[in-house]
């Protein structure tokens, strides 16, 4: 793949808990170019753990090992905490699920965006504020000046998530990791936020890792899909070819949700095969 931004080979993550070792992620390999890559799985599949480990945001009791964990020419495995601080937010940023919990409740949203810029660029406060206003306009907020001085509890969920996106995009990162960025939002708002994210990403050549539980959403939105099950990637497939997915788990996920006008009397349930864990 041309222009590879991130390369992961045989990523292994294990947690030690009271003397027991639990493998949360095993043998995960992928590379990310300027594209939208989805990591899909059910709860406990390890999809969020993968996302966090890329930024070394994993908890202390986790061990991360890999044959390769390259971001550009930086080896993330060996990177010092100081290097990581430069990377986090500046070069790789992360959008979380619920803006309610990821925004500082006692700080104006505009100031939080400006702060995100100031953290990585040596400019005056004035310029950062200007930047933040431009950014608010970019995420299609109608009245940026008014919204700038609102507090997080005064904005709606959709607007909060736009603010989050503005905050994550303002340092002009190369990769965005979005962990279920729209699952706390209503469907109509969800679509607007996703379209917006899509536009901004294409505009500035950003690579996106989109972590989600929703295969339907992801297949229309992303270019490539990694399906994770119990810490492993069971299938890696182009989103447009998902109908022809080979793995029974992927097929099961596709068939499980009921559709509008579903004529099935019973929904198919997943039969989990232990042999999936050994391939």
């Amino acid at each position: 793949m041309q222009n590879t931004k991130l390369e992961v080979k045989n990523l292994q993550i294990s947690f030690s808990h009271e003397g027991n070792q639990v493998n949360a992620v095993r043998d995960v390999s992928f590379s990310l170019g300027q594209e939208k890559l989805a990591i899909v799985g059910e709860s406990g599949s390890g999809k969020s753990t993968v996302g966090r480990s890329l930024l070394k945001l994993h908890p202390k009791n986790a061990t991360v090992e890999a044959e390769k964990l390259l971001f550009g020419d930086i080896d993330l495995l060996k990177a010092s905490e100081k290097t990581m601080r430069d990377i986090r937010g500046r070069r790789i940023s992360m959008i979380m699920q619920d803006p309610k919990y990821s925004l500082n409740p006692v700080m104006k949203v505009g100031d939080q965006i400006a702060e995100a810029y100031l953290a990585h660029y040596k400019v005056s406060k004035k310029i950062a504020q200007e930047k933040a206003l431009v950014m608010l306009e970019k995420v299609q907020i109608r009245d940026p000046k008014r919204v700038y001085s609102l507090y997080p509890h005064e904005v709606s969920g959709g607007m909060g998530q736009r603010v989050m996106i503005a905050m994550m995009l303002i340092p002009e990162p190369e990769i965005i990791i979005a962990d279920e960025p729209t699952s706390a939002l209503d469907v109509s708002v969800q679509r607007q936020v996703l379209n917006l994210l899509d536009e901004l990403i294409n505009e500035s050549n950003i690579g996106l890792i989109f972590i989600s539980h929703d295969l339907d959403l992801v297949r229309n939105y992303c270019d490539r899909v990694l399906v994770m099950y119990a810490g492993r990637v069971v299938e890696s497939i182009k989103a447009s070819e998902l109908e022809n997915a080979h793995h029974p788990y992927t097929q099961g996920l596709l068939k499980a949700p009921p559709r509008i006008g579903d004529i099935r009397h019973r929904l198919p349930t997943l039969e989990r095969d232990p042999s999936w864990l050994y391939n």
Binding site: A256, R259, I260, D262, L267
Partner: protein, 260 residues
Amino acid sequence: MNMINIEGLNLSFGSGSNESKILHDVNIQVKAGESFGLVGESGSGKTTVLRCLAGQYHHWSGQLSVNGNSLQHKLDKKRCIDMQMVFQDPYGSLHPRHSIETALAEPLKIHKMDNKDQRISSILKKVGLDDSFRYRSPHQLSGGQRQRVAIARALILEPQILLLDEPTSALDVSVQAEILNLLKELKEKEGLTYLMVTHDLGVVTYLCDRVAVMQNGHIVETISSSDLANHGASEPYTKMLLDCCYHTEARLNDTTSFAN
């Protein structure tokens, strides 16, 4: 006869200039054995309707009746026997310090019912769990198993109506399928009446016969599920919701081969 009859239900919070009206003149009629869906986005008041029926708000105005009995503002035991509820979050709806047995025995003790042991066994079997689950505590169960226990707890008083508050939205899709199958099966076997709140149009057309679409405390449109699926919706808001839903399903509908 209507199993659930809601006429002119109004509810507001605050007073004077701060008064905000949550429900505006809501009318819903659900026949016995029917399952009825309430859909809408967050803040539409769909859950509030359910909570009024469940006796969580005491200051609504209008007419509510269930199984022919008109409801007072306070909960009474008769209402409990007629109607039970299943909640959205299976992690918050079971008492963390009570074993499954304690949770299921509690309603029986309150209503002084006999044969506790047999009732618990048979209800567990009905929701697809075996007797070994009796002595476990909620934190030892998966989300799907917890939701089964919550359904068992709702059914142990043998109510005729189940209020379902987004019963599957906190679950993984594969588990959601299991719970929806279970709910459908229980409805057919026991002749239950469902009133379900959800934001998922797929789920509502799968389980419900009729649907009311809510927006900002108003019912925008009441429509049968089959009409909804066959583009029979007339209100723009309903069409917009459908559009959002089809948008994510778009590519799937091209390859309609997923019916099994």
